[in-house]
């Protein structure tokens, strides 16, 4: 085990601060962020808009540099983790290459970066498309697929290198509610099947409550951890729990926290 790596956490963040802008005009996006994501868990991240939840995800993904504090992903720095393909990122837009078929898009991660390492441990692309419910559409170009299907392809692409962590930045934010509910179901199934740790940013309170084992609530200006609450529903979660009193209580609690976060 690497030093400073507590055995049970996939991601651990200590006193993280991220600032933007030049020295004359400094903006603190995140400050004093400390939390741990247990291995194999699914945590959701909510906060008022502009609170830095995307920035936090990007800092874990080595897309944004930390100004203070420490981030470790399975004991590695974000850069080392990126090079080792420990994590994969799913964006709000599907970011598919429009000239490639669904299958070819899933193959992209195997064609770039450190190729040799990836080929050994990669998953079977056709099986991944089946996993996300797209078997039979392997040869379709992105513009021939609906928004929901495009996002399924991008999830399959993220899974192709068998990442240990899946970082998702409002992946279903641009989809209609019916498609979103359906993809939430499927994400839970994929999470169970693959055992991947998932960090899921969303602005939908019901989504955060339905998916997350834990939910991290951020306040804004600057972004700080307001609450890191456990969400305890019986497992496996079924859509019907959305209509239970427990669920309404959890969403109510999150809503109160968010209202508070918006005032801070």
């Amino acid at each position: 085990m690497l030093p400073g790596h507590s055995g049970n956490s996939a991601i651990s963040i200590e006193e993280l601060a991220v600032r933007f802008g030049d020295p004359l005009n400094r903006i603190t996006a995140l400050e004093d962020i400390t939390f741990e994501v247990p291995k194999g868990s699914l945590i959701t991240l909510v906060g008022p808009s502009g609170c830095g939840k995307s920035t936090l995800l990007r800092a874990i993904a080595n897309l944004v540099d930390a100004d203070q504090g420490k981030i470790t992903v399975f004991g590695r720095t974000p850069e080392q983790a990126r090079l080792a393909r420990d994590f994969a990122f799913v964006f709000q837009e599907s970011t598919l290459l429009p000239w490639r078929t669904a299958l070819e898009n899933v193959l992209l991660p195997l064609e770039v970066g450190r190729r040799q390492d990836n080929i050994e441990k990669h998953a079977e692309p056709a099986e991944l498309l089946e996993l996300v419910g797209l078997s039979g559409r392997e040869g379709a170009l992105p513009h021939e697929l609906s928004g929901g299907m495009q996002q399924r392809v991008s999830i399959a692409r993220a899974l192709v290198c068998r990442p240990r962590v899946l970082l998702m930045d409002e992946p279903f934010g641009a989809l209609d509610e019916i498609t979103r509910d359906k993809l939430n179901e499927e994400l839970l199934r994929i999470w169970k099947d693959t055992g991947t740790t998932i960090v899921f940013v969303t602005h939908s309170i019901p989504e955060a409550a339905y998916l997350g084992q834990k939910c991290l609530v951020l306040s804004r200006h600057p972004g700080r951890v307001l609450e890191f609450m456990d969400i305890e529903f019986s497992s496996p979660r079924k859509p019907a729990i959305r209509d239970t009193l427990d669920f309404v209580q959890v969403t109510g609690c999150l809503r109160t926290l968010l209202a508070e976060a918006g005032r801070v």
């Binding site: 897309l63 990122f89 970011t95 429009p98 992209l108 064609e111 770039v112 970066g113 513009h143």
Partner: protein, 268 residues
């Protein structure tokens, strides 16, 4: 079942008919204009050296076909060589520009400046420097292709969404991989928009090059026919030059359909 097959056959026949029906207005208008031209020339007794009738022009293709052909080939060669040279340099320069801000800052203004000099003014200079062979014509044809392709290609190579770059960053892709996997492909619609322009302007470049002290090619034939009041020959030459440009345009469009099969956003 038979009824269904019949229905499909009827549908296909109807579609074919529709294609022809859509072409009919343009074909009809062209024929009508030729007739009108012929009518005006004969009814008003306009002398041949001012405006020949379409029949006289057509006769040139029959009687002087060999002369036209001999002069067509060098112009075709110059236009094609210019097209390839100008566009290749533009594409390579564009690739350099998107990878080096210094190169873009240093050379883009010069490229803009060169583009603002009228091609007709550069032509004599190039003839003085490069002599009277194919070289100055090819360079003029390539100069005229160069700028639109450079501008479009730079735009095309940069037309990659920030999220796509982030994706490639997460995948630890190198600059070269980003160029070949993403940038080149996404620039194709922009490139073809420019190539379509270049496919017609390269012919103009070759012809303008031949205007200055040349004794072969469609350009020199235009000058010669004009000074000798051989209007039917002049018209025939112009039609041949235009046909060359149209053929280039059609070929480029076919290539675009072959290489760009995906739907694109706004490309101007």
């Amino acid at each position: 079942m038979a009824g269904q097959e019949q229905a499909i056959a009827d549908y296909i026949a109807e579609q074919r008919l529709r294609v022809w029906r859509n072409r009919l207005p343009s074909i009809g208008t062209a024929i009508a204009l030729l007739l009108l031209w012929h009518l005006v020339v004969t009814v008003f007794g306009i002398p041949t050296y001012i405006a020949p009738s379409p029949v006289q022009v057509a006769m040139v293709f029959v009687e002087k076909g060999d002369v036209l052909w001999i002069n067509f080939l060098p112009t075709l060669f110059e236009a094609m060589a210019g097209f390839i040279l100008g566009n290749s340099v533009a594409v390579l320069l564009a690739i350099w520009f998107v990878h080096s801000r210094f190169a873009e800052r240093a050379f883009y203004p010069i490229a803009v400046f060169v583009n603002t000099i009228p091609i007709i003014a550069i032509a004599p200079i190039l003839v003085l420097i490069l002599g009277n062979g194919y070289a100055p014509k090819i360079v003029i044809a390539s100069l005229i292709c160069f700028f639109p392709t450079l501008v479009n290609m730079v735009r095309g190579l940069k037309a990659v969404s920030p999220q796509m770059f982030e994706l490639m960053q997460v995948l630890s892709a190198s600059n070269r991989e980003i160029l070949w996997k993403i940038r080149v492909q996404s620039s194709l619609p922009f490139l073809f928009a420019a190539l379509k322009i270049a496919s017609t302007t390269c012919v103009i470049g070759a012809i303008v090059g031949e205007w200055i002290g040349s004794n072969y090619g469609l350009g020199s034939l235009i000058i010669e026919a004009t000074y000798n009041f051989r209007s039917p020959m002049l018209y025939a030459t112009v039609i041949l030059g235009a046909s060359m440009a149209v053929a280039g345009f059609v070929l480029t469009t076919l290539a675009e359909r072959r290489f760009v099969k995906w739907k694109t956003g706004s490309v101007h």
